[in-house]
């Protein structure tokens, strides 16, 4: 039983995740290299370095724009073709939040991640809440709280980027371009801040390795699912039972 594996991600969604990750890093590094202004740039050497790596500032801009179009275009096609199969279920999953259970999850998991279990138990006793970390569904609320802004942020980043590209080929109101730059930057900054935690939880945090492996194989071991996403496992078992029980009854 414990060695059984459970299907978690489709091949296409795995591909889209890593396609997104590769594009994101390329766009992040080149985008940071496009900001060359003493009052705004925190790493003044970075734009100089990026520009020499790419040969010229205009090649850097063109590369950023090209990969940006491939990234947004890829998601547009994926979103249209798999709207019903993958996009809608994903959106429904990340928007399903149960405030009392999930806020307790955030508190207990947060304390455990930073201070450890002994501290969690002491704090829980002192403030009178349950020290057990509540069960979670397909995604835990932490993942959902990253998924929602990263999807919304992606849309904002793509739209503002598109406006900036458009501005070079047609007349776009100056204010629109001016605000697009700022909103593009702010959105990337905020999603990136969340991304730091996402990458830590996914690739470094102890006990999460099966999730990382599932982002290549598509499956997780059952005991991992039980421990981390119990409500999801319960659902799968319930629907399996619903499917198989009539057959068993007849046989």
């Amino acid at each position: 039983m414990a060695h059984q594996t459970i299907h978690r991600h489709t091949r296409l969604s795995i591909f889209m995740h890593w396609f997104n990750a590769v594009c994101w890093f390329f766009l992040l590094l080149t985008g940071l290299g496009l900001i060359r202004n003493d009052a705004l740039q925190v790493f003044p050497a970075w734009p100089l370095w990026m520009r020499s790596v790419f040969g010229s500032p205009e090649t850097l801009l063109l590369s950023h724009e090209t990969v940006g179009i491939i990234w947004a275009g890829g998601f547009l096609i994926y979103g249209i073709l798999l709207f019903r199969q993958e996009v809608i279920p994903f959106i429904r999953e990340i928007l399903t939040v149960e405030i009392p259970r999930d806020s307790l999850w955030l508190i207990t998991k947060g304390i455990q991640m930073t201070l450890g279990y002994p501290a969690l138990e002491k704090i829980a006793e002192k403030f009178g809440f349950d020290s057990r970390i509540p069960d979670q569904g397909f995604y835990n609320v932490g993942q959902k709280l990253f998924a929602i802004p990263s999807i919304l942020g992606g849309v904002v980043i793509a739209l503002t980027g598109f406006i900036m590209i458009l501005s070079q080929y047609g007349t776009v109101a100056a204010e629109l371009v001016q605000w697009s730059i700022v909103i593009h930057f702010i959105t990337v900054g905020l999603v990136f801040a969340g991304l730091l935690i996402h990458i830590f939880m996914a690739a470094i945090a102890k006990g999460e390795q099966p999730a990382l492996i599932s982002m290549f194989t598509g499956t997780v071991p059952e005991d991992y699912a039980h421990h981390h996403h119990k409500l999801w496992l319960d659902e799968i078992r319930a629907s399996d039972a619903a499917e198989t029980s009539p057959a068993q009854g007849n046989g």
Partner: protein, 252 residues
């Protein structure tokens, strides 16, 4: 010393013929309704009672981008598309990096920049780069019938411009709020001089500057949080719940 191209202008010889404006417009294909350079004039005064003594004819003042040594437009550009070229000291626009956001336009106290309606980038005087490439002077300089505009490297003592500056008193036109250190000099005196405007920033740029530390702060805080969690993970490697009710080992 580093080259600093500049214009030294004797505005008292300007006759307001505007040939420099026409030459520039034709040479650089400046679109209708826009100008890269100009001739300004002071108000003549004929209306004084004692008019015979105080009559002051209009004074004409040729001008254009002043290719400042402290260019407020360069500080406003987010990408470095507007830059001060180290090789000749001119302020230029890389039109393949510029996306036409126009942050720089209100930043110029002299109104020397505009957003090109068909090229969709910011356009301005570049001291006729293409003419200089073939060894010619800027179109406005060549055209001027009274030779009011003298062009050259003011850091080269042998240039006409440097000689003129050395032999005469000269003034630069700046707005009181910031010394842009313009590289356009007017011999002895000129008028009008109070026309530059305070360099401004679009609301978006101001907001960006305001919010920039917070964005980097949030990124930094999260990075710190991740480091803390990493440290905790390394230091407390045997961290286990004392009683884990939902552990699969117990259930199965």
């Amino acid at each position: 010393m580093r080259t600093q191209l500049a214009m030294v202008i004797d505005s008292s010889t300007c006759i307001d013929c505007k040939a420099c404006m026409v030459a520039c417009k034709v040479e650089n294909q400046v679109p209708e309704g826009y100008w890269r350079n100009w001739v300004k004039s002071s108000e003549p005064r004929y209306a004084d009672v004692d008019w015979m003594d105080s009559v002051r004819p209009a004074h004409f003042q040729p001008g254009g981008c002043m290719h400042c040594s402290n260019p407020t437009c360069v500080s406003a550009c987010p990408t470095g598309a507007t830059y001060k070229d180290e090789s000749d000291g001119a302020v230029k626009v890389n039109d393949r990096l510029c996306i036409g956001c126009g942050y720089c336009i209100p930043a110029c106290p002299y109104g020397a920049r505009y957003r090109h309606p068909t090229r969709h980038v910011v356009d301005k005087c570049d001291f006729c780069q293409h003419r200089r490439d073939r060894g010619e002077l800027p179109a406005c300089v060549t055209t001027c019938p009274t030779k009011a505009r003298v062009f050259g490297d003011i850091n080269n003592p042998k240039s006409d411009a440097a000689q003129l500056l050395k032999q005469n008193r000269s003034i630069q036109i700046v707005h009181e709020s910031v010394n842009t250190q313009p590289n356009m000099y007017y011999l002895s005196a000129t008028a009008p001089i109070n026309w530059p405007v305070k360099p401004g920033k679009p609301d978006a740029m101001q907001f960006w500057k305001l919010i920039n530390p917070s964005i980097w702060g949030v990124v930094g805080l999260n990075a710190l949080g991740v480091l803390l969690m990493l440290g905790k993970q390394i230091l407390m490697s045997h961290d286990k719940p004392a009683a884990d009710n939902s552990s699969p080992e117990k259930e199965s």
